[in-house]
């Protein structure tokens, strides 16, 4: 589990430094797939529960494959450059991102129970939520804003996976349906806003 959580943290951090829009979509896809693997690792003992499989399918198929591919397709012919900065590329903004992650990991370690894995799990989830908010606070471009919003969503789902009690099938289906609707709406609007790279 620790390896998966560290991989998740890397998948969240890389697009902040890589400065290409294709990397952002790959990282979002990787986050979804990692969430599915983490869900399987922590909920595998409940394999007889249909809700668990609905959740894993939601994470792997919707978040890991469909969302990044669909959004990529919606913007690819509108991007006139391979470069895209989620945070300004200088040491100050990168430093703030690193401080956010360090603070989230420290915070995760202060919340009971004081076991290393749940603490890391909580810390990584909080890092994702806070980094998503950080990206949103810096971005005026729709493409960057949607990446910030989806990073927050993924962070919330990672935190949800820390829970031992899970919701029933109708609720999982409703949550998956709402996520699918959100991705379709984001993609539809990204396509219609004249240039996803320009400020709104």
């Amino acid at each position: 589990m620790t390896v998966l959580l560290v991989a998740m943290l890397i998948a969240v951090m890389v697009p902040l430094f890589a400065r290409t829009w294709r990397t952002m979509f790959r990282a979002l896809g990787l986050q979804g797939l990692l969430l599915a693997v983490i869900a399987y690792s922590s909920l595998g003992s409940h394999a007889d529960d249909v809700a668990v499989w609905v959740l894993i399918a939601d994470l792997a198929v919707l978040r890991g494959i469909f969302a990044p591919l669909f959004l990529h397709r919606m913007v690819e012919d509108r991007m006139n450059s391979a470069e895209f900065e989620l945070v300004p590329s200088n040491l100050v903004f990168w430093g703030i991102a690193v401080v956010i992650v360090a603070a989230a990991l420290w915070f995760g370690a202060q919340i009971p129970p004081f076991d290393p894995v749940p603490s890391l799990h909580l810390g990584v989830a909080l890092s994702m939520v806070l980094l998503g908010l950080y990206v949103l606070s810096l971005q005026t471009r729709p493409l960057g804003q949607v990446v910030g919003a989806l990073t927050i969503e993924n962070g919330v789902v990672l935190l949800e996976l820390l829970l031992t009690h899970h919701v029933a099938v109708p609720v999982e289906l409703a949550l998956a349906g709402v996520f699918l609707g959100s991705i379709l709406a984001f993609g539809f609007l990204l396509r219609r806003l004249k240039a996803p790279m320009e400020a709104t």
Binding site: A149, I152, L159, L163, H165, V167, P170, L189
Partner: protein, 490 residues
């Protein structure tokens, strides 16, 4: 009793009907028909089920558990939002404006508006906080195409901002629910928090933990964003200003109340154990909202934006009243009901004025009573109600809320709110009333205003007036029942 699902299923069926191309030509007539049927069903359910009875639904159906509930809160808000929806449907279906009655607008508006209403009605009767959360988000998704209908850069940008703020706000609310669940699991190993509202009291065991308090904070902040409360309010004036008037009415009068019910149920559940925290957060958000709205009302010359900022002002007052609790709850409910009707009258009228004068600037419009006498009167009486004048329901609601503040010893808060309301009163009157009363252009023609077009607004004003002069006994009992269930005294 499966009938309580009908207010959600009927519009969902109507939305699906719009997939049939042959029905697109009669879409607006179907919209009106579904509006009538849905209001009839909602009122019929209220008539059949007494306000003091709570009916759960789901355990004996294919969904397996009691995901839905029909209680006094559901009764009040189902009736309200379906009445507003019928008014909007009648306005759109009978409207003489060519751009509103085209087939293209008609079938798309009908499909998404009915989908919006299906999600709204189900959210109001939801007994599960996560299911309710998903349904509130579904109303957002149904509203996005309605906001972007004009297909201009401006309308897409407004739809984008609306979607982004809603998604982030609701994500934070969801995070709050996860924190609440986590607080229970840590405090009581092998136990968990049921997200069913009637089992939510398990959270009382963990009221002192940090995760619990963070959870409450995030839920209030997230739903507050959806209500247009400060600090995340900036989506609201842009969206309300850009969307067409029937769409703005659905957002301001229907979606606002659907989100309010979701927040109300959470505060109702946790109010007893987290009273201080809830009061502090809601008061801070409410006062912040009232201050930013007052400043923007003073600075604005766009009447649609002024009404939008007044919505933020009202949301702030409702948040403060909800935080005060106790006897103020009766006033909050009355104020919320009045608020929905005021917004319906004002936004529908604003659309008419914009269509006729071709501008939203208050300083470019004069002689409204001469050119559009009915719209002028609606704007005048709507503004009176907006400002909390007697004898409208909003006046009584505000009075009861203020009484609740004084009763709970919050005189500084009371004084501050009075100052803000006075500022809003002067600023709104200074910009809105010259449009109505000042002499218009010489030789300006009077615009024909068909009776059918006026009926919804006349009805809303009539109800507003009734609420202020004579409170019907069944409605009074309903408000009293909800106030009692909240722990207050009517």
């Amino acid at each position: 009793m499966n009938a309580i699902l009908l207010p959600g299923l009927i519009p969902a069926f109507g939305a699906l009907l719009m997939l049939i191309p042959a029905l697109r030509g009669v879409a607006l007539k179907l919209l009106l028909l579904f509006g009538v049927v849905n209001l009839g069903v909602s009122l019929g359910l209220s008539f059949l089920i007494p306000a003091t009875t709570t009916v759960f639904l789901g355990a004996d159906t294919f969904i397996g558990e009691d995901y839905f509930v029909f209680d006094a809160t559901a009764q009040l808000f189902l009736g309200l939002i379906n009445a507003v929806f019928l008014g909007v449907a009648a306005f759109v279906a009978t409207h003489p404006r060519p751009d509103l009655s085209t087939t293209s607008f008609g079938h798309r508006f009908t499909a998404f508006a009915l989908a919006f209403m299906a999600a709204s009605n189900l959210a109001v009767i939801s007994n599960h906080v996560l299911m309710g959360w998903a349904l509130v988000e579904a109303t957002t998704l149904a509203a996005v195409p309605l906001i972007g209908h004009d297909r201009t850069r401006e309308s897409w940008a407004a739809a984008w901002r609306y979607l982004l703020f809603s998604t982030v706000g609701l994500s934070l609310a969801f995070l709050g629910f996860v924190c609440l669940e986590r607080s229970v699991e840590v405090a009581v190993p092998h136990d968990g928090l049921s997200f069913f509202l009637h089992e939510f009291d398990i959270a009382t065991r963990t009221s002192q933990s940090f995760a619990h308090k963070l959870g409450i904070l995030l839920v209030l902040f997230g739903y507050g964003t959806k209500l247009g409360l400060a600090p995340m309010y900036s989506w609201l004036p842009v969206t309300y200003d850009t969307a067409r008037s029937p769409v703005t009415t659905l957002l301001a009068a229907v979606q606002f109340n659907v989100t309010f019910v979701a927040l109300f149920r959470v505060v109702q559940t946790f109010g007893a154990i987290d009273q201080e925290l809830i009061r502090l957060v809601l008061t801070a958000m409410g006062v912040g909202s009232m201050i930013v709205s007052a400043i923007n009302i003073v600075a604005n010359r766009n009447y649609k934006r002024i009404i939008a900022f007044a919505s933020i002002n009202h949301a702030g007052a409702i948040a403060i009243g909800l935080g005060v609790g106790g006897s103020a709850i009766y006033g909050v409910l009355l104020y919320a009901v009045s608020n929905a009707l005021i917004k319906a009258v004002l936004f529908l009228t604003a659309g008419e004025i914009e269509q006729h004068f071709g501008t939203k600037r208050t300083d470019e419009i004069k002689g409204l009573l001469q050119e559009m006498p009915f719209s002028g009167l609606f704007l005048m009486f709507g503004t009176f109600a907006l400002l909390g004048f007697a004898p409208f329901g909003s006046f009584i609601g505000e009075l009861v809320m203020m009484g609740g503040m004084i009763g709970s010893g919050q005189t500084i808060l009371f004084t501050g709110i009075c100052v803000i309301l006075l500022l809003v009163f002067v600023a709104t009157g200074r910009t809105m009333f010259p449009m109505i009363w000042n002499a218009g252009k010489d030789g300006a023609e009077r615009r024909a205003e068909p009776l059918l077009d006026l009926v919804p607004k006349i009805f809303f004003l009539f109800v507003l007036l009734t609420l202020g002069i004579y409170m019907p006994a069944p409605l009074d009992a309903l408000l009293a029942e909800i106030t009692l269930s909240f722990g207050g005294s009517p």
